[in-house]
C-alpha cells in the first residue's frame, strides 16, 4: 500500500513543480530569443509584479471581491436549488434542463447578455460570476443528495422522524462535502467569469484584472498582462485551498484518517 506523503513534502513538491516549469520557460525564452511582446520571460513578469504592484493590487481587490462574493452566492443558491430539486420531482423536471442549458452557453456570449440586462458596476459582475459558478454546485450537491444511503432515512422513519428532520439530520450533512467540492470546481471558472464580466461590462473608471489584462494587451505590455494572469492563478490556488480546509473542518467524517480502527 502506498504511504501518503508528509504534508511538508507535499507542499515542497507543490512549490518545486511550478519552479521547474518557470525555469524551463525562462531558459526557452532566453535561448530562443523570443520577442517579449509575444512571450515575456518569468523574470520580466516578476519585474512587472514589483513595478506595477499598486495598479495590480487595486485591480485584484475588485476582481477578488467579484470572485469571492459570486462564489459564495453560487454556493448558497446552488445548494438551495439542489435541495429544492431533490425534494420536488416537479421542480427538478422543470429546472433541470434549464440549469444544464445555461452551463452550455459560452461565457463570452453569456456575459455581455447579462451586462445588458443587469447593467454596469460591481454588483452585476458578482451576479454574472454567481450564475456561471452555479452549475457545478447544483450538480454536485444534487448528485450527493441522490446518493444518500436510503437505509439511513428509513431508520430515522422508524424513530418517528418527519421529512424535515430527515433532511436536517441525514441529507444535508451527507451533501455538504459534495457542495463544497462543487465550489472547488467552480473556483477555476469563477476567475474566468469575472474577467469576461469585466470585459463585457467595462465603462469609464471601471477596474479589475480583466480590464487591466485587456488594456495591457492593447499597449503591448504583455509582461503586465501575464502578471495579472499570475495573480489570478495564485488566487485560484489559495481559494481552492481555503475551500479544502473548510471541507476538512466542516465535514471531517468525509476525510478518513489512515490507520483508524475498523
Amino acid at each position: 500500500m502506498r504511504r501518503p506523503l508528509h504534508p511538508a513534502v507535499r507542499v515542497a513538491l507543490g512549490v518545486l513543480g511550478p519552479l521547474l516549469l518557470l525555469a524551463a520557460w525562462q531558459a526557452y525564452v532566453r535561448l530562443a530569443d523570443v520577442d517579449p511582446i509575444l512571450l515575456p520571460a518569468p523574470t520580466d513578469v516578476a519585474a512587472s509584479l514589483v513595478d506595477d504592484r499598486s495598479l495590480l493590487w487595486d485591480a485584484f481587490v475588485v476582481t477578488g471581491q467579484e470572485v469571492l462574493l459570486g462564489l459564495a452566492t453560487a454556493l448558497v443558491l446552488g445548494a438551495g436549488l439542489a435541495i429544492l430539486m431533490h425534494l420536488s420531482a416537479i421542480v427538478r423536471a422543470m429546472l433541470g434542463p434549464l440549469v444544464i442549458g445555461i452551463q452550455a452557453v459560452p461565457i463570452p456570449v453569456l456575459a455581455p447578455v447579462l451586462v445588458f440586462w443587469l447593467g454596469f458596476g460591481v454588483g452585476p459582475k458578482i451576479v454574472i460570476v454567481a450564475i456561471i459558478c452555479f452549475f457545478p454546485v447544483v450538480i454536485n450537491t444534487l448528485d450527493a443528495l441522490d446518493r444518500v444511503d436510503p437505509d439511513l432515512g428509513r431508520l430515522l422513519q422508524t424513530m418517528g422522524a418527519s421529512r424535515r428532520q430527515r433532511l436536517r439530520w441525514v441529507e444535508l450533512p451527507a451533501a455538504l462535502p459534495a457542495a463544497l467540492s462543487g465550489a472547488k470546481v467552480a473556483v477555476a471558472i469563477a476567475g474566468i467569469a469575472a474577467v469576461f464580466a469585466e470585459y463585457a461590462g467595462a465603462e469609464q473608471g471601471s477596474e479589475g484584472l480583466g480590464l487591466l489584462i485587456n488594456s495591457a494587451r492593447f499597449s503591448l505590455a504583455t509582461d503586465r498582462a501575464f502578471a495579472a494572469v499570475f495573480i489570478l492563478a495564485v488566487f485560484a490556488v489559495l481559494t481552492t485551498g481555503a475551500l479544502a480546509l473548510a471541507q476538512r473542518l466542516l465535514a471531517p467524517w468525509a476525510h478518513r484518517r489512515p490507520g483508524a480502527p475498523r
Binding site: D149, D151, L152, R154, L155, L156, Q157, T158, M159, G160, A161, Q165, W169, V170, P173, A174, A251, P252, W253, A254, R256, R257, A260, P261, R262
Partner: protein, 258 residues
C-alpha cells in the same frame, strides 16, 4: 402443510400480535398467512431460508411497510438494523442521543442520557469518537444503545451480528443478553444463524420458503440467555429441532408443533 398453531397466553398487552400476514411484491408472494406474537419481555427469534420474508416482516412491524392482508398490532418499535447505520457526521454520543432529539428532547438533556447509557456499558471514553474511529463491534454496540435510548418496549433486531467475525459475535451475544437482563424488553430477533436463535430466543418461529408461512414454533427452555452456552443440552436440542424444521420445510413435508 404449514403449522398455524394458535398463539399461547392472553392476547391483551402483547407488544406484537400479527394474524394472517400476507405480503406480495407484484406477482411474487413473499409471506402467506403468518401468525406471530411476542409477549412482554419475551425474545422471539425468527429464522427461515434466505428470501423468505423475515426482514420484510420486521419492516412491517417497524411501520416501514404495510401488509397486503391480515392484521398487525405492534407497539412502537426500535430497530437495530443489520448494518449499524450510525450517522458518520455524529459522534457516538450524538448517535445514541439521536432518537431523543427526534422526539423533541433538548441537546443537553439528550446528550446526558446518551452519556449515561455509554458509561453504563463502559463505552464512555468513546463518546466523542466518530463511527469511522470505532471498530465494527463497538459500532454495533453503539447502534444497540441507540435502539435502547428510545425506551420503546419492542426491539426489532435484524441480523444484528451478521457482519461480524465469530469471536466478536459471541462476545456481543453475551453483551446483548446482559443488557436485556438489566432492562428487559420484548424482542423480535431476525437471524439466519440457528445457534444464535437458540442462544438468545425464548421461542423460535421457523418460516418456510416463499411464499412463507410458519412451519414450526419451538420453545427454548434453557434458562436465562445470559448464562447459555452453545454446548448446553437444551441449546443443542433446540438447535437440532430448528434444523429439522428447516430441513423438512425445504422438503415441503408436515411438521408438528413442538
Amino acid at each position: 402443510m404449514r403449522v398455524q398453531s394458535p398463539p399461547s397466553g392472553p392476547a391483551a398487552a402483547r407488544p406484537l400480535t400479527a394474524r394472517g400476514i400476507v405480503r406480495r411484491f407484484g406477482d411474487l408472494a413473499v409471506l402467506d398467512g403468518v401468525d406471530l406474537d411476542v409477549a412482554p419481555h419475551e425474545t422471539v427469534a425468527l429464522v427461515g431460508p434466505s428470501g423468505c420474508g423475515k426482514s420484510t416482516l420486521l419492516e412491517m412491524v417497524c411501520g416501514l411497510q404495510a401488509p397486503d392482508a391480515g392484521t398487525l398490532d405492534a407497539a412502537p418499535a426500535a430497530l437495530m438494523p443489520q448494518r449499524d447505520l450510525l450517522l458518520p457526521w455524529l459522534d457516538a454520543r450524538d448517535n445514541v442521543a439521536l432518537p431523543l432529539r427526534l422526539a423533541g428532547s433538548g441537546r443537553r438533556e439528550a446528550r446526558a442520557a446518551a452519556d449515561a447509557l455509554l458509561d453504563r456499558v463502559e463505552l464512555g471514553r468513546f463518546a466523542r469518537s466518530r463511527p469511522d474511529e470505532l471498530s465494527g463491534g463497538m459500532r454495533q454496540r453503539v447502534s444497540f444503545l441507540r435502539a435502547l435510548a428510545t425506551e420503546r418496549e419492542l426491539l426489532c433486531l435484524d441480523e444484528p451480528f451478521g457482519a461480524l467475525d465469530a469471536i466478536t459475535r459471541e462476545e456481543l451475544r453475551h453483551w446483548l443478553a446482559e443488557r436485556l437482563e438489566e432492562r428487559p424488553r420484548s424482542v423480535l430477533l431476525v437471524t439466519h444463524d440457528v445457534e444464535e436463535a437458540a442462544l438468545l430466543g425464548d421461542r423460535v418461529i421457523v418460516l418456510g420458503p416463499r411464499p412463507a408461512g410458519v412451519v414450526a414454533r419451538i420453545s427454548v427452555d434453557a434458562g436465562p440467555a445470559r448464562r447459555r452456552e452453545a454446548t448446553d443440552p437444551a441449546v443443542v436440542d433446540a438447535r437440532r429441532r430448528i434444523h429439522d424444521a428447516l430441513r423438512t420445510a425445504m422438503r415441503g413435508d408436515e411438521v408438528a408443533a413442538t
